[in-house]
């Protein structure tokens, strides 16, 4: 490789210089492939990529092996005999407590928690952000500051009071209660996100809509929302991954039959009875992480665009 690289540069050098010797350098400067800069750059990137990809590789490989093969101890070697049994077991048969229907129960619980929480929190926070950005009212800055402080209070401080509140209104242990908790805790950071985005949109657009006679909701729904797809995607990704991966609220605010997937995964992996089935554990972990992973892959580009839009124009 080094030889080819040097050859190429030399060849290019001869071509570029010979006919223009009198005129001096002209056109683009030749860029050697194997410069110190490139080696540093690609070397670092390769190491970083390996660092993140290796555990995933081990997990996938292990989940496709049978237990006898795992006991042989070569965790990096590919499976000699591919089996999907651990996946089936993790999804439909693994036992947690009294239930032996695998992660499927937790999956559907998580879906029933995540979908309404994401929709409700984004709907409320976007209106909040829009009102704080465009309809400044007396005390709106103070209100915003209080909301932002909310983002810095550690969750642990709030857990016990919230347990009492939910118990008093009769929602403790239900999925509805957890949805409410997730929606409230998403509010500070999402409101900040939406407010900063709406502030970055041209104020004259808002003025023009007011002159055109549009009211609070008409401006929001017909002018602002159609311009804000990137920031809605960012908010959705933040919320889906945050709520799906949540463990603390899930374990505190639900009962065993309404446990979200993360809590159930923990119970499967940490069960102390019987043999440790590493392949089932790996399969269960991948299954649990699949939803955020898919969300990232599908909307990654929009995510970057939204983050950039919020940051640069502000």
């Amino acid at each position: 490789m080094a030889d080819t690289g040097t050859l190429n540069t030399t060849a290019a050098g001869i071509d570029a210089v010979k006919p223009k010797l009198g005129a001096g350098p002209s056109g683009p400067r030749p860029k050697p492939m194997l410069s110190g800069r490139n080696i540093m750059l690609y070397g670092t990137l390769t190491i970083a990529a390996l660092y993140y990809l290796l555990p995933l590789y081990v997990m996938v490989v292990t989940s496709l092996k049978g237990m006898p093969e795992i006991r042989m101890g070569n965790i990096f070697s590919p499976p000699m005999e591919i089996t999907f049994e651990p996946w089936v077991k993790a999804w439909a048969e693994a036992c947690t407590g009294l239930n032996c229907d695998g992660l499927s129960r937790g999956f559907w619980n998580s879906v029933r928690i995540t979908v309404p929480s994401v929709v409700i929190s984004i709907a409320i926070a976007s209106v909040n952000g829009y009102a704080l950005a465009n309809w400044r009212f007396k005390g709106s800055e103070l209100f915003f500051s209080i909301l932002i402080i909310g983002a810095f209070i550690p969750y642990q401080v709030m857990i016990y009071p919230i347990v009492i509140v939910l118990r008093e209104i009769g929602l403790y242990g239900s999925l509805t209660g957890l949805v409410i908790v997730h929606s409230i805790f998403g509010m500070p950071i999402l409101t900040l996100l939406f407010r900063n985005y709406f502030v970055s949109l041209p104020q004259e657009l808002f003025k023009a809509a007011r002159v055109d006679g549009a009211g609070f909701w008409q401006i929001f729904l017909r002018i602002m929302v159609p311009m804000s797809l990137p920031i809605f995607v960012v908010a959705m990704i933040l919320q889906v991954t945050g709520i799906w991966n949540d463990f603390l609220f899930g374990v505190v605010f639900t009962r065993p039959d309404t446990y979200p997937m993360t809590v159930q995964l923990n119970n499967i992996v940490n069960s102390v009875q019987g043999v440790k089935e590493y392949n089932v554990n790996m399969a269960a972990t991948i299954l649990t992480g699949l939803v955020p992973l898919i969300v990232y892959f599908v909307s990654g580009r929009l995510f970057v665009r939204g983050i950039a839009a919020g940051a640069v124009k502000g």
Partner: protein, 361 residues
């Protein structure tokens, strides 16, 4: 003549900062009024107050004899055009034009009629199905004007509509706005910092500085008889020549003396008594100084320092008794640097200001 927009004792404060102070302004029906000033003088703030996008701290605003001080923008009978066009990016040109009418629940047939009329006036029919991103700057601003046009309003408000365009398009659209005003005969209030736009478009210009109107008059008066030093220096490019000196008595007549050079004030019209010894500033526009030809009785000596040929005009920077002076002459007349020249001043077109109060004498 009927009053279209009337502003009475308007004040506006942002916290402790006072942007407009006790402002009074009456705008006639069908008048083209330009609010002119440098940035931060409160001209855009005043326009936003008229539009209802900012609440006044004190005072009242009347449009067509109706007190609209507390009315929403849509109920004031105004249409507004913004500097950044402010077109709704996700809507086609047609939807942009009809959005306000749809919000007002006007029947579709009427909407179509008005959109057709506006797009014909502004010649944007071929663009109706396009989105703002697919238009050039000039086309976008036409659409923005169209959006005000379809609203069928009494008063048009323009907030620096041409500032985002390049020089050539700016002069083209300037002519079109003037033509539009001549055919529609609506009241138009136009905010700009560009004095050429102000002088060419306006029936009357209101020159503003720190929230106060310095002079409200037609362009000719503003140009030839500026009320104070600020107006005199703001209008005109290159700026008026200012000579600091005092009044004196020369041969039984009042004259002006600066750096030991005496200027006769024959032909200068004022109702004030010109008291010898008063400290004053003499202002003469570059084109009101004669070079070598038609000088008149009084002759001043000067030398050419720098010559700036601009095609139609030729701008000379002269040294005259310690002053640097700019003189505008015809582009065909050329002078090499260092050439001695003879100057003549036309005092009937000059301005005298009191050095202390800076007001016109």
């Amino acid at each position: 003549m009927n009053t279209s927009v009337s502003i009475k004792d308007l004040s506006l404060n942002f916290g402790a900062v006072s942007v407009l102070k006790d402002l009074n302004l009456d705008i006639n029906d069908g008048e083209f009024l330009v609010l002119l000033g440098s940035s931060g003088c409160g001209k855009s703030t005043l326009l936003n107050c008229i539009a209802g996008l900012l609440d006044a701290s004190e005072g009242q605003i009347y449009i067509k004899g109706k007190n609209v001080t507390w009315e929403e923008p849509k109920d004031r009978g105004i249409g507004m055009v913004f500097q950044s066009y402010a077109l709704y990016p996700q809507m086609t040109v047609e939807k942009n034009l009809s959005f306000g009418l749809k919000v007002a629940k006007i029947p579709q047939a009427e909407i179509d009629k008005r959109v057709a009329r506006a797009s014909e006036i502004l010649q944007i029919q071929p663009l109706l199905k396009r989105k703002p991103a697919e238009l050039s700057g000039g086309q976008r601003q036409r659409v923005a004007i169209g959006r005000a046009l379809v609203r069928d309003v009494d008063v048009f408000l323009f907030d620096e509509p041409l500032s985002n365009l390049d020089a050539k398009l700016r002069s083209e659209l300037r002519v079109e706005i003037k033509r539009l005003h001549q055919s529609l005969k609506n009241t138009m209030i136009y905010v700009t910092h560009d004095q050429i736009e102000a002088l060419t478009l306006a029936d009357r210009i209101a020159i503003m500085k720190s929230g106060i109107i310095q002079q409200l008059a037609d362009p000719t008066t503003i140009y030839n008889k500026p009320r104070n030093l600020f107006v005199a220096g703001f209008i005109g490019s290159p700026s008026m020549n200012f000579l600091h000196g005092e009044l004196t008595n020369a041969g039984g007549k009042t004259a002006f003396v600066s750096n030991g050079v005496t200027f006769s004030l024959d032909g200068y019209q004022t109702e004030q008594v010109l008291q010898p010894g008063r400290k004053v500033v003499l202002g003469v526009r570059p084109e009101h100084i004669k070079v070598n030809e038609n000088i008149g009785a009084e002759v001043h000596e000067a030398t050419v320092d720098i010559e700036e040929p601009m095609g139609a005009d030729n701008l000379l920077w002269l040294k005259h008794a310690g002053h640097t002076m700019s003189v505008r002459i015809a582009g065909s007349r050329r002078f090499a640097p260092g050439t001695p020249v003879k100057l003549g001043f036309d005092m009937s077109l000059a301005s005298l200001f009191d050095a202390a109060s800076e007001d016109r004498i």
